[in-house]
């Protein structure tokens, strides 16, 4: 048996060499298929290689490393460091899925997730409704239309951190403009960022303010692509303004709105700067969303808990992937071609 096998291997090897010399006469085996694919597409592969390499380095490596860290107990004190004369080797250990079990059974992750969902849903809903209303208003021929459009795009044009800091000044309880105006009208100042409920309202308001321009521009584009014949035909049939909006505008906007809602959801879910710069997740941890909390683990507490931070990061990724899959499936069942 053993002899037989070795003989056949030797034979096969010999065959291979022979086939190699007399190219094209042998029967098409898998390796030659690959070879053919390479010989046909080598140019494409070469062109793609740098991109694949760069993506692998800047996305693949951190992702794999993040997943690996989430399976260990790595923190600031046990990772490898070499500073000048001090050299310390890594001493963290593999702990399996312990971090995930801790995160999913403790109430910190679930509590933060709850507020993150409230934050995402309310921001996206309000932004979408406001964007839709403004887009419809600006789609008509009104005087100074382009001036309005410019003004409404302004929040988008200002760097995010600049506008968030401006809002932080406005919100200041004792010296902020908002409370000065209220005080002028004889109303008591509102603890915008100092009361947990008001702080939640305040961060949502700022994010809506930042998000409306994008919604508006995207939906305005969608509105302009709806053929005017459809409106004319609807009007001929005696449709009211509401019916025209309901049965012509909304279906016409569908391809645009599904995309912007998906994008906006993902962006809002991970909207780091607004929360971090406005409240740092406070007061207490009232406005802490998943990404800001993950940042806190990794950069603000000491010793920095890299393992827990990566765990939260991976969980955020999984949640968003699940959302995107469900969203796609729902759209597909409704007949959208995704």
């Amino acid at each position: 048996m053993a002899v037989h096998t070795s003989q056949s291997v030797a034979k096969a090897a010999g065959d291979d060499v022979a086939r190699g010399r007399s190219r094209g006469t042998g029967k098409s085996a898998p390796p030659s298929k690959l070879r053919r694919a390479l010989s046909v597409h080598w140019y494409a592969w070469t062109m793609v290689a740098p991109v694949v390499l760069v993506i692998g380095v800047i996305i693949g490596y951190p992702l794999v490393r993040g997943i690996w860290l989430s399976l260990t107990d790595a923190d600031e004190r046990n990772v490898a460091r070499s500073i000048g004369v001090n050299k310390m080797p890594a001493t963290y250990e593999f702990v399996g899925l312990d971090n995930y079990a801790d995160a999913l059974t403790g109430n910190q992750f679930l509590g933060t997730l709850g507020w993150t969902l409230v934050w995402t849903v309310s921001c996206v809903t309000i932004t979408f409704c406001l964007g839709m209303a403004l887009a419809n208003i600006l789609n008509r021929r009104i005087a100074g239309r382009s001036a309005y459009r410019m003004a409404l795009i302004l929040p988008w044009a200002i760097p995010g951190f600049v506008s968030v800091f401006a809002w932080r000044f406005l919100y200041n309880e004792n010296n902020g403009l908002l409370n000065k105006i209220l005080g002028g009208a004889g109303i008591d100042g509102i603890p915008w960022l100092n009361d947990p409920a008001w702080a939640k309202f305040s961060v949502i308001a700022v994010n809506v303010w930042l998000g409306v321009p994008f919604m508006m521009v995207a939906l305005l584009g969608g509105l302009q692509s709806i053929p005017s014949e459809q409106y004319e035909a609807a009007e001929m049939d005696g449709a009211t303004a509401w019916q025209r909006f309901r049965h012509v505008t909304l279906p016409g906007l569908r391809p645009v709105s599904t995309t912007v809602v998906l994008l906006s959801t993902i962006w809002t879910f991970n909207m780091f700067p607004v929360i971090f710069l406005l409240t740092r997740g406070g007061p207490g941890e009232a406005t802490q969303i998943l990404v800001t909390q993950a940042y806190k683990f990794s950069f603000e507490i000491s010793p920095r808990d890299f393992a827990q931070s990566s765990t939260w990061g991976v969980l955020i990724l999984v949640l968003l992937m699940l959302f995107a899959m469900v969203y796609r499936r729902v759209l597909r069942t409704q007949g959208d071609n995704w």
Binding site: E76, R77, R81, S82, I83, G84, V85, N86, M88, R168, N172, E173, N174, N175, L193, N194, D195, P196, A199, T279, R280, G282, P283, G284, E285, A286, F299, E300, I301, S302, P303, R304
Partner: protein, 423 residues
Amino acid sequence: MRRGITATALVATLALAATACGSDDETGGSKSSGELSGTVTWWDTSNVGSEDKVFKKIAEGFEKKHPKVDVKYVSVPFGEAQNKFKNAAQAGSGAPDVIRSEVAWTPEFADLGYLAPLDGTAALKDQDDFLKQAAASTKYKGKTYAVPQVIDSMGIFYNKKMFADAGVEPPAKIADLKTVAKKIKDKTGKTGLYLRGDDSYYFLSFLYGEGGDLVDADSKTVTVDNAEGVKAFGVVKDLVDSGTAKTDATDGWENMMSAFKNGDVAMMINGPWAVADTLTGKEFTDKANLGISTVPAGSAAQGAPQGGHNLAVYAGSKNLDASYAFVDYMTSVESQAQTAGELNLLPTRTSAYSKKEAVDSEIVQFFKPVVESSVERPWIPETGSLFAPLNVEYTKVLTGQTTPEKAAKATGDSYRKLLKGWK
């Protein structure tokens, strides 16, 4: 890639260190000052707009003594410095040669291996001259990792004019604090006290006042969640709820300083680091209007935390010799006398207290006994980590999101997670 850079830096550092050692041997102990060269980057964390100018001036004075050395003064906001230094130190690039390290950060940085041991270097001169309290935080596992620059504690800052208008005296006890604040409110319409709600360092004197503490390092016990701790959370909650104090969950430092400087509040709890900034306020154009008294006593005791700042040298510094000399210069008797005179900061050297500048400063003279009787924290690597969990619960109590009992328990739980094996 990062490892490559670190390795290169390491080799470079070793090479530099080796050559530096060589030159050291040649000239022996009588090393002339002109020999030091290169750049020394210093991260200063003092208050921008008041203290930083003086420190910059002093730091640049080093260049006059050592013309070949270029001192790069970088002002880093105190609140960001700890994280910024950790990021840079761990990445192996962008870290300064010398950092002004808060007392609680020093053992932590040392534990992480970011600091160069200073025993036997030029940075440590006349060690016996340093106040014992100040030197304590610079030691970790038998080695010295920093040199004390300033020492401080806390007291009540009050507006003398407002106190006179209301006809009150500085409160000695927390119960008095409430009656004083009420009289001020009745007479002037202003709030009595500003209590920082976003930084639990300002909570410590209330905790000590009730006889509590964060942890007891000798018996390895977490003490923040015992009855005294719960009581202390109740005390600060009552101060805010009763209108004695106002607070903020964000921008606490800016709001506190502007409220006190503009006369919107009559008192704040603060330390010598706030004096220079306070004196720029419109209420304090006459410096005599600023009164300082000891923090009010709680039901069990009276106490304020001992704090301060050290100067530490980054272990990966490429210019260790000049850095050591710079640290020595910045903590010398002359430099300390100058900061005592211009900024009312407390020296860490005993001999600096006999200098005219320190003797003439009322604030230095006031705080000297306060510092001597202040509560010393355990200098373990985790001391600097105790504030992050406490901040969250402290703010939650002040904003009514949790009860004192729950807050104390939650803080204790996270301390036990942090301090493995503690009771």
